[in-house]
Amino acid sequence: MTSLPDPPPGAKKLGLVIDLDTCVGCHACAVNCKEWNTSGHLAPLPDFNPYAAGAEGVWFNRVHAYEAGEGEAGRTVHFPRSCLHCEQPACVTVCPTGASYKRAEDGIVLVNPETCIGCGLCAWACPYGARELDEDAGVMKKCTLCIDRIYNETLPEAERQPACVLTCPARARHFGDLGDPESAVSRLVRERGGYDLMPEMGYRPVNKYLPPRRRAAAGAPPQEAAPRAEEIANPLLRWVDRVLSR
């Protein structure tokens, strides 16, 4: 068992806010994550049978598509899924070696590949399916929140963000400190009714999802002036006397 840190009051809770209103399911976040991280902190992210049947690789971020509701009233939902960096991460407490850990200073959940034995208990414990086993190395891997980008002093300030956030063409991903109620991401969560995934499980995810905005209402049924009798006979007549200037 691995214990959780006692975060100091006001400690950062870094995480993502994902907007389901504009996510079009393009997989940009998933692929850009893969390309950053396959040469990043938990490199590589291997691909098994890459050019044959049964191709299956390690991805820290996957996008699912499903439908909700029936017929035209229903909705097609695109749902990006990655580690939620829970405040009560069962994947950490279940870890027999301490390899899986939650950082006190920013709340990021990481795996130390040096001490991970690849037992898979954390993947079993995580209800969100956010753990990815590198079967070749025998090590569990997962979203690091791009820890090698967000503190990277060789990057311009504006680019010290996770790859998935910077690349998202629908601007549906936001990164920030959800422990600071005045941060941009916290404000966004408040304004848009951001919610926890499966809150009943009690893991208190840091990442939030923004629900689809209320759809623009259909306009009122058209109100028409009653057509004049001559218009009914010949609707073109209404333009006969129209004075228009070139």
Binding site: H78, R171, V240
Partner: protein, 955 residues
């Protein structure tokens, strides 16, 4: 590594040492993405010569830093095991995949010998067709220099209906040459847009639009991708969009919610049309002695329609000074669409959209356009010299693409959409659809197509793909027969602006209109997904004449990868990947301009090839020199250009106008027009590999009538004259074709095509059922079948990509749940999809968000076994399928010569017209797709693909 960048942090649970500040790579180079056709700017980070990371360039106008899933997977395209490695000469039968590796010298000698003989005898016997390449200004010029009219790229099966419909109506078009005013529009209506196209700009635009609370309506039979985030999804029946749009037009006219001021000032609505049924001038514009169109002034009678301050009549019938009768365009247009045929009730059932909903959408469009108009405090001057204090905006925008385009009624549907925009006053105004530079252009732009006269060893002067104004511009012989092998610009496809690539091999195989000697293809996968009917195409590529020679004796193919087409060629010229070469995203082709101004871009090599491959453009330029094509050799016969970058900088199409518009002139200070600048490419590289011009605010809207804009566009060489571009509701070029069909003029269609030309060259938009529906028993084929393109795969460009194929490895047939259940089908059933032309076996997935009478699948996921260096058990070939096997490139059997399954005006491949039935297959048949042609054999020199990939360019 600098020790200070290694922060050591110990945490409660871990003892991990984390390298927080490792530099991304040791070098970063800018270039332009080519994982699809969108031309986003990218930064490629290199580490020890390997590609570490590809990201969007934040400064680039197209993608502003973002990058889609395809672009982010560029590493895996670049290192794919399917890359060809050296030139190849076929040694076995065509299709056998038996090749000998040869040197570039030998390859160039073979190609030169074949091509020289063709050029010395009959240059038309070369058909040179390219795929989704971005060097058409070079390839088209090369073909003309060679002297063959038989050149085109992929537009004939992609978007020519959109291009032609737009350019003959508003002088621009959706997709390439227009865009919604993303920042200001309050209502966006999108018709049939593939999810991979204009990928990042649309996603960026939609995100901003939704954040502002604007309404987004998507008209598409399928609710995926963009439609998934629409405020309203209209699951229309395929091929009926035109009818739906005309009903909207009907409603706007019926309720008098049209912008008559806009119509009078900016369109030909007031122009007078001669009414002389049976006469040679019927339907042409009444013109004055100088040829200027006339309108009817309420006080002064017939006047030059451009007379400032005149008060033109919109309805009525008038007698011209010469005694002829004439009516304004508006009158003829309104009379048509006010008719009962276009009432919402009359179209609702065919469209699958209720009459009430059609009326509501029309009212919403009008309410936003007229009751929520935008007024910008931005003075501007129109072409009549009048100063306007403000810019009035109608903030309804439209965007449309293949769902309109790939139907045989797509040209007219596209014109109808542009008419709808005009009625709303929503063309290039604040909040509406806007022109992207270098558009608008005159309607139609420039002279007709070149290629009427062809002679040995003689270049063709002019553009092979240009804009007919009437019958005189067609490429037909005295008997009305086509001069091009694809029959573009003939009576079968008078506005075949992009050529008809889908007919080339079929026509050449049938010797109709004539056989060819050499088929030269560049990155066009004609033996598989780029063919409407791959089985027929591969049959023709392997067919022999009675004398034993192949029906098409020589096939030269250039591509970077082992595609399905490679085994069917005789000579393979292996191309580089997009990260290994120069490219030019040119104003002479399809640049990266926007509504904000002109722009173009380059690719630069960011890594060196590790194989014996050459950039195709270099090869083409060298072939030009070897053949002695005048523009490619100096006076002494030596090569004029060293390579493609040399051509990009120094080629001049007209004095001062070359492939790139930025940093021209000796010192780089000129834009658009200027002497070649030897330093030009360096300037592009310093600027992130793109150039962008910024229009001043007074030129940003009303470009078709904005004097400052038009003057500037002329100065930059974008247009020939700085005159108002009057939007064309009534299309006189179409009427000229119709008059010819009615028996007027020297050039008339052959008898068998007379009625067809008369019907479809209607000067006003019309709707008709897709052509192939007329020739078959629709009760046998009750469902429409279409393809969509996923956001994470571009055509056939991603199956060799280890990452993208994990996202889309095998496609399903998607069906409406209730409709499928009524047919006794369940989730995961294997079915036969049968059309009049063939059948395909595949597996179904049931869904809600699809028109009940429509089935669909993802395009080009299915692969032929063995191709793209995939194992023979790969799901792409075992379970993935091509709907193309059920499509015919010809219309149903008819009297006389066969006609292409295409739009009768433009020749656009009508592959969305497909009708099918779906039946559960026998239990023993389930589990594998059909047809499943035998596996292709990879060239022997390709290394075996790995079983495990651990890509890591890090330390």
């Amino acid at each position: 590594m600098d020790g200070s960048r290694w922060a050591e942090r110990r945490t409660a649970g871990g003892e991990e040492r984390i390298a927080y500040s490792r530099p991304v790579g040791d070098e970063v180079k800018h270039t332009t993405c080519y994982m699809c056709a969108c031309r986003c700017g990218i930064r490629v980070h290199l580490k020890d010569g390997r590609i570490r990371y590809i990201e969007g360039n934040p400064d680039h106008p197209v993608n502003r830093g973002v990058l889609c899933g395809k672009g982010s997977a560029g590493i895996m395209n670049h290192y794919a095991p399917a890359r060809l490695r050296a030139p190849l000469r076929r040694v076995g039968e065509r299709g056998s995949g038996e090749f000998a590796e040869i040197s570039w010298d030998e390859a160039m000698e073979i190609a030169t010998a074949w091509l020289r003989r063709v050029r010395e005898t009959d240059p038309r016997r070369l058909a040179f067709f390219t795929g989704r390449d971005q060097s058409q200004s070079l390839t088209g010029f090369w073909a003309a220099q060679f002297g063959t009219p038989n050149f085109a790229a992929h537009g004939g099966f992609c978007s020519v209906n959109m291009a032609a419909g737009g350019m003959y109506t508003v002088g621009g078009s959706f997709w390439e040459f227009g865009e919604p005013d993303w920042e200001r529009t309050k209502y966006l209506m999108m018709f049939g847009v593939a999810e991979d196209h204009d990928s990042n700009p649309i996603k960026l635009g939609l995100a901003g639009l939704k954040a502002r609370g604007a309404k987004f309506v998507s008209v598409n039979p399928v609710r995926t991708g963009y439609s998934a985030v629409a405020d309203e999804w209209i699951g229309i029946r395929p091929g009926t969009d035109g009818l739906f749009v005309m009903a909207l037009i009907h409603e706007l006219l019926r309720t008098d919610r049209v912008d008559a001021e806009f119509l009078v000032r900016y369109t030909n609505a007031p122009w007078l049309v001669v009414r002389n049924p049976g006469g040679p001038d019927d339907g042409l514009f009444a013109r004055d002695a100088a040829g200027r169109p006339l309108a009817w002034d309420r006080a002064r009678g017939a006047l030059d329609a451009a007379t400032p301050g005149m008060q033109p009549a919109l309805v009525g019938e008038f007698t011209l000074p010469d005694g002829r009768r004439a009516q304004p365009v508006f009158h003829l247009m309104a009379a048509r669409y006010l008719g009962p045929d276009y009432a919402p009730e009359a179209v609702a059932e065919r469209c699958g959209v209720s009459a009430e909903r059609i009326r509501r959408i029309a009212a919403e469009l009008a309410a936003v356009a007229f009751d929520q108009a935008i007024v910008l405090d931005q003075p501007w001057t129109d072409t009549l010299g009048r100063r306007h204090a403000t810019m009035l905006g109608r903030p309804v925008a439209f965007h449309a693409m293949r769902g309109i385009s790939a139907h045989s009624n797509g040209f007219h549907t596209c014109r109808a959409l542009h008419l709808l925009q005009m009625l709303l006053g929503a063309v290039d105004t604040p909040g509406s659809w806007r022109y992207k530079s270098p558009f608008p252009r005159p309607i139609p732009p420039g002279p007709g197509p070149a290629g009427r006269s062809v002679a040995p060893n003689t270049p063709i002067a002019g553009n092979l793909l240009a804009f007919p104004h009437g019958p005189d511009d067609l490429l037909v012989d005295g008997a009305g027969n086509p001069l091009r092998v694809d029959k573009a610009f003939s009576w079968e496809a008078p506005l075949g602006l992009h050529g008809l690539m889908h007919t080339v091999i079929g026509n050449a195989g049938a010797g109709d209109p004539y056989p060819i000697d050499t088929l030269f293809l560049f990155m066009a996968n004609m033996a598989w997904n780029s063919a409407m009917n791959p089985g027929e195409i591969t049959r023709l590529l392997t067919a022999r004449r009675p004398d034993g020679e192949y029906v098409i004796p020589h096939v030269i193919y250039a591509d970077a990868y082992f595609s399905e087409t490679v085994p069917f060629a005789d000579l393979i010229l292996p191309d580089t990947t997009y990260l290994e070469r120069w490219d030019c995203i040119s104003l002479l082709d399809r640049p990266i301009g926007s509504a904000h101004g002109a722009g173009d871009a380059i690719r630069q090599p960011v890594v060196k090839p590790d194989r014996d491959v050459r950039p195709f453009q270099d090869v083409l330029i060298e072939l030009g020199a070897r053949l002695g094509l005048p523009a490619f050799v100096k006076e002494d016969g030596s090569p004029r250009f060293r390579d493609y970058p040399d051509y990009i900088v120094n080629h001049e199409r007209a004095p001062g106008i070359g492939p790139l518009a930025g940093w021209r002139g000796r010192d780089g200070s000129a834009k658009g027009v200027g002497e070649p600048n030897p330093d030009q490419l360096r300037r592009y590289i310093e600027n992130g590999c793109f150039w962008r011009d910024h229009l001043p605010p007074e030129q940003l809207y009303y470009k078709h009538a904005n004097r400052a804009y038009l003057d500037g566009a002329k100065a930059m060489g974008l247009i020939g004259k700085a005159e108002q571009i009057v939007l064309q509701i009534w299309s006189e070029p179409l009427q000229r074709f119709r008059l010819a069909a009615e028996g007027h003029g020297a050039r008339q269609p052959p008898e068998r095509l007379r009625e067809r030309v008369r019907t479809y060259c209607d000067p006003l938009p019309i709707w008709y059922p897709p052509l192939e529906h007329a020739g078959q028993d629709l009760a046998q084929f009750p469902l429409s079948a279409v393809t969509q393109r996923p956001m994470a795969m571009y055509h056939s460009w991603g199956s060799m990509n280890a990452w993208l194929r994990q996202i889309h490895g095998a496609n399903r047939l998607y069906m409406h749940r209730a409709a499928a259940e009524r047919m006794g089908l369940a989730q995961d059933d294997w079915v036969w999809v049968t059309s009049r032309a063939g059948r395909v076996r595949c597996q179904v997935t049931l869904m809600e968000g699809v028109n009940p009478d429509t089935v669909w699948t993802w395009n080009a996921i299915g692969k032929r076994a063995g191709a793209w260096r995939l194992a023979e058990d790969a799901p792409e070939s075992a379970r993935g399928f091509l709907l193309n096997h059920a499509i015919s490139e010809w219309l149903p059997a008819q009297e006389g010569p066969r006609l292409a399954n295409a739009d009768p005006v433009t020749g656009q491949a009508a592959w969305y017209d497909l009708r099918v039935r779906v039946e559960k297959c026998a239990p023993g048949e389930a589990g594998e797709t059909a047809p499943r042609p035998p596996p292709l054999r990879a060239p022997a020199h390709l290394p075996p693909p790995p079983d495990l990939l651990r890509y890591n360019a890090g330390p």
